[in-house]
């Protein structure tokens, strides 16, 4: 269970004024909960994810994992329980490293990286199986540098890398935003299947309200650094586009297909 307690984040902007990016967020994410997170630009979605990932320090408040305060741990230390997929497919993989080397890096998350081989042959077989599940034929191209993959392939690979280590929380930061609609659908399906099969807790940030309604079992909407909508279960399933519009008023949230 991941808990955010009264999280505040304020930035000093150019003219010395304080901008409240997050204004008192209280949130509990149960194990296995698949949360979709929406909000207008500047609502605080990215800041919330950054607070969880440890790349932004909250000005106030605490982050608890199973009751243990981890607010002050560094981003790389959080890799033991957290995985992240970035909006830019190029960010999630090392372009100069091969598919196998990228996977080996992700597999070693939270373990000591010594002067042994990065992969055992047993691990390599396991990785090939997982790659085959993606259905992209990448299992036959282990020694191909990630640079030669398409954006869609790279993002699929990143999703696989992020879920290899069975994280306590998976952060998906607009991870299909930069892809064509067909690839978006493929990667969303792979993401959803993986999250369900492994029973992961996940937060998926999206600009596409359709995706937020179709996926996940809980929907959270942010506005000006506060949670303005938090529905789960039955209520989430029966949520309509109009309900979302009602929350944001005339401030239309995103381009909706």
């Amino acid at each position: 269970m991941i808990a955010l307690k009264d999280i505040h984040v304020a930035f000093t902007v150019g003219d010395g004024a304080r901008m409240r990016a997050l204004d008192g967020i209280d949130l509990v994410i149960e194990d296995g909960a698949f949360v979709t997170l929406i909000g207008t630009n500047g609502a605080g979605k990215s800041t919330l994810l950054n607070v969880l990932a440890g790349t932004v320090d909250p000005t106030r408040g605490h982050l608890l994992v199973d009751g243990v305060d981890v607010t002050r741990t560094r981003d790389f230390q959080r890799a033991t329980w957290l995985s992240r997929v970035f909006p830019d497919p190029r960010l999630g993989t090392c372009d100069q490293l091969t598919i196998e080397e990228n996977l080996a890096l992700a597999l070693a998350k939270g373990k000591r990286r010594g002067i042994g081989r990065p992969l055992t042959s047993c691990e390599r077989t396991m990785l090939k199986d997982r790659l085959a599940d993606l259905g992209l034929g990448l299992e036959a191209r282990l020694s191909t540098p990630a640079r030669l993959l398409s954006s869609g392939q790279r993002q699929s690979l990143t999703v696989l890398m992020a879920t290899l280590s069975q994280p306590r929380l998976l952060l998906l930061d607009e991870h299909v935003a930069n892809l064509d609609p067909r690839t978006q659908a493929n990667i969303l399906t792979v993401t959803d299947t993986t999250i369900r099969r492994q029973g992961l807790a996940a937060i998926m940030v999206t600009h596409d309200v359709r995706h937020a309604l179709d996926f996940g079992d809980r929907l959270i909407a942010l506005k000006a650094g506060r949670i303005v909508l938090d529905v789960s279960g039955e209520a989430k399933a029966s949520l309509k586009m109009a309900d979302i519009d009602a929350v944001y008023g005339n401030e239309r949230i995103a381009a909706v297909a």
Binding site: F76, Q96, P145
Partner: protein, 304 residues
Amino acid sequence: MIADIALATPPVAMMALGLFLMFRVLGELDLSVDATYTNGAAVIALATLSGLSPWLGLLAAALTGALVSLLVFAIHRIGRTAYLLASLIVLTGLYSINLRVLGGATVGLIGQPSIFDSVPFAAEWVRIALLLAILAVVCAALFGFLKTAFGLSMRASGNNAVMARANGVDTRKTLLVGALLAGALYGLGGALQVQIQGYADITMGIGAIIVCVAAVFIGELFFPPEGRIGAGLAGVLVGSTLYVVILTVALRSGLPPTDLRLATASILLVAVLLSSARLRGRHLMGPLERVRRVRWSLRRAETR
């Protein structure tokens, strides 16, 4: 002339390997090599003069080289300065310290024991073989290291720090370890040069950074920077050799030694121009580029 080239190349290659590690693997330009190279020379000179075995002298030069890098890293981390700036500060200060260690501008080691005493006979090819053997051992060790789990996390830190940290890699640690290794290699380079020429000189390291960068760039003309470690290291070796070849030929054909640095700058300029031309897709290297492309498409066909 070939013997001269074979003798002059290993020290250049040694320090160029260090710079490759910092500049190409970890993505930090490290200027400290100028002073660390001289420092390695000063340390081995001091060690042999005080009766230490020259092999221990090599070890001491490597260790103090690593220590210099530790200082650069400390300034970089504690002072939150760019690595480049930290290395510039250390490079400047270390010059004076090197002068103190040497106790003068030049220290001759004629008649002192050298690593070449370890081999049974003193023919020139034996000296060359010993130097090449040392270089081969260092290269193999570096290759093996970069292929390990830790080495992989180091390459990831330089390639994509965001991704590396998201996957639990402490990028400060990988930079520190890389810097220590690079410092040791710079020091070893200087120490080997002293063994070859028989004296240590305060001006030895001046321009070493340019020599290293030139070697790396020349190497990349033949082995493009694509992330393959074997090719990267081979590139450094080829680049160092070609750099020495070009300079030796220039000096032999009447280039006054005072114009040496102009020649070095010209070599680097040409290498940089060729490499940016290749990046823009123009093939100044014509035939070579075609060979590379064919090889590449063959490799792709294999993996299909």
